[in-house]
Amino acid sequence: MTSVLTSPTGAAAGGAPLLEVDDLYVEFRTDYGVVHAVNGISYTLNAGETLAILGESGCGKSVSAQTIMGILDTPPGFVTGGEIRYKGRDLLKMGAKEQRDIRGEEISIVFQDALSSLNPVFSVGAQIGEMFRRHRGTSRGEAKKLAIELMDRVRIPAAKDRVGDYPHQFSGGMRQRVMIAMAIALDPAILIADEPTTALDVTVQAQIMDLLQELQDETGMGLILITHDLGVVGEIADRVAVMYAGRIVETGATDAVFSAPAMPYTEGLMASIARVDQKGQRLNPIVGSPPNLADLPTGCPFHPRCPRATDYCPTALPPLLEVVPGRRSACHYAEEVLNDH
């Protein structure tokens, strides 16, 4: 390993972004046709920053995370274009060994379903400790000690007594804490959280989100939060990238995007959710359902559901362009949409 180990904040020299995803394309070749899951997405992540990737199921948000982690199922999944640069080095061009060194050590991931991500026949202590044993060659006893420390750090009560317990003996929230403990074990520079709280109750969700933020404050890691929950994005993300049909359709600072969206899809999502802080408002759902990624509409993929669509929209794919400084939108009429708010 190189000197990056010594810098838990992961701030790369020269102020370059920690992670750059550049024009990434991923497709799945299935018996039923080619599914275009990710169609040219680009984003950057800086140290200490929280980037939310917001989208509905099947929009490609998890596939992009799997590609960064190098855990895409190949076949059927194939990266057909683009680069993923971690501190300037393209992860996709690295050999398996190099990738393995980065995975877990520099970039780690927390999955949605902790129960199926943990191995039921090993104690949680052994699973957390495995990180140290694999990557650092730590002895069994030392690994157990470090596991207890980590369980303390993610606030699992009575860590010392519970280190030998098995995943089924923990509640959903505690299991997710175990997953987080494993993910932060080696002080990664980037943590990807893929729907980390979707299976959890709201009070537990609030605890986990707070924990992630505290850990981020302590270590300065970059956090990529993948979610479909607009409220969660609003509460913790610095920047948001909205995905639809495998493309990023809007990006910007979270509060700016939510107070005045520049893409009709973002607008539609906001109008369709019930808010706990408002009563009696009418919900305006987006008509129809998300498109089939094996058979995308022509032009702008959102046009069949878009209330603002014109005859032009089915003919040309709108590129993701800057609307105002720091804000980008993939809509032919982005300025009009923005000015309507």
Binding site: E56, S57, P157, S171, G172, G173, M174, D201, V202, T203, V204, Q205, A206, Q207, M209, D210, Q213, E214, D217, E218, H228, D229, L230, G231, V232, V233, G234, E235, D255, F258, S259, G268, L269, M270, S272, I273, A274, R275, V276, D277, Q278, K279, G280, Q281, L283, N284, P285, I286, V287, S289, P290
Partner: protein, 379 residues
């Protein structure tokens, strides 16, 4: 009941409120304990999971009662008890004043015609081998008097149209539909018998965000058109606020607070309700800055071994000695609605558009807020 003969407006019944004022549904002291057994040949009961432990509420005609709570609080068990899919350990369910708790056979079938259910998972609640037409029309196999045989296929088409599906899809199978469309099929099936009450058990939580609103709007339209009453069970407090007239909050098998939507969301008086509301992430930056943060510590205790006295006391910042000994009753303690807390005090946690958020009362001390957590960790 009035009968509407306009073609295409199936089902053709609109339910009107009973002028005598008898509630449509009344639940009294409902208890359901599931035994924990040990041994394979000789099963020995070693404990009880107290899934539902003394629940009382009323549902009036044309009303939507929201039932919220976290997983394991017993809200789905309540729905099964209402449907008579489970027999209660104790307590009674009255339908229009009649005790229906121990009905069986013909009487039970008669009751189920009036109370229908929509399930959470539209993937597992539709038989994959049946066509949509057969699924929606199946209730008439058991209740043949509702729709005469010759009119059934026509009525199925009307029902599909009413829930927003193309009537030409009658011969398709469930796997050919998206999640939102499947949930519409489940709704059409529930409407087939022209019920008065529909129990909606997490009807939108399995759906995509943009599709949830379509189903919520459909449920609201149907309620208006057919005079339906809903028991709306969900863990999503935002959706419950949107659709409910009254809301009951459950914790560990019992209702801790019940009141109108305004009372629960703007003047909640039970610490658990307050914590629950404060945990809901808020999108709007202005509303978020006005929100009180209450962070609960620990997990929900096991319903097999609930705490003595008030069940919330182990996680409550207001708990005192009395809470461990006296279970608080669900009564009005001066807040205008029933609250099961010895130290009930109405507080605004999230604002509403009719309500200016007040400065929050003393929730500061033992409560871990994000701000205090930040201060403590020195960041």
């Amino acid at each position: 009941m009035t009968t509407d003969t306009t073609p295409g407006a199936a089902p053709t019944v609109r339910h009107e409120a009973d002028p005598s004022g008898v509630p449509l549904l009344r639940v009294e002291g409902l208890v359901k304990h599931f035994p924990i057994t040990q041994g394979i040949v000789f099963k020995k009961t070693v404990g009880q999971v107290r899934a539902v432990d003394g629940v009382n509420f009323e549902l009036r005609s044309g009303e939507t009662l929201g039932l919220v709570g976290e997983s394991g609080c017993g809200k789905s068990t309540v729905s099964k008890l209402l449907m008579q899919l489970e027999k209660p350990t104790a307590g009674k369910v009255y339908y229009k004043g009649e005790d229906v708790t121990h009905l069986s056979g013909k009487d039970l079938r008669r009751l189920r015609r009036n109370i229908q259910i929509i399930f959470q998972d539209p993937y597992s609640s539709l038989n994959p081998r049946m066509t949509v037409g057969d699924i929606v029309g199946e209730p008439w196999e058991i209740h043949p008097d509702v729709v005469p045989k010759g009119q059934r296929s026509q009525r199925v088409r009307e029902l599909l149209e009413r829930v927003g599906l193309n009537p030409d899809f009658v011969n398709r199978y469930p796997h050919q539909f998206s999640g939102g469309q499947r949930q519409r099929i489940g709704i059409a099936r529930a409407l087939a018998l022209q019920p008065e009450i529909i129990v909606c058990d997490e009807p939108v939580s399995a759906l995509d965000v943009s599709v949830q609103a379509q189903v919520v709007n459909l449920l609201e339209e149907l309620k208006r058109d057919f005079g339906l009453a809903y028991i709306f069970i969900a863990h999503d407090l935002s959706v419950v606020r949107h659709i409910s007239d009254r809301v009951a909050v459950m914790y560990l098998g019992s209702i801790v607070e019940i009141g109108t939507e305004d009372e629960i969301y703007e003047q909640s008086a039970h610490p658990y309700t307050q914590a629950l509301l404060s945990a809901v992430p808020v999108l709007d930056p202005v509303a978020r800055s006005q929100k009180t943060r209450i962070m609960l510590t620990g997990d929900v205790p096991s319903p097999a071994n609930p705490p003595s006295g008030c069940r919330f006391r182990t996680r409550c910042w207001k708990a005192q000695d009395i809470c461990a000994t006296d279970p608080p009753e669900l009564v009005d303690r001066g807040q205008g609605h029933p609250v099961a807390c010895h130290f009930a005090e109405a507080v605004t946690i999230v604002g509403g558009d009719t309500h200016v958020p007040e400065p929050t009362t003393d929730l500061s001390e033992p409560v871990e807020t994000r701000a205090s957590a930040k201060r403590r960790t020195g960041s």
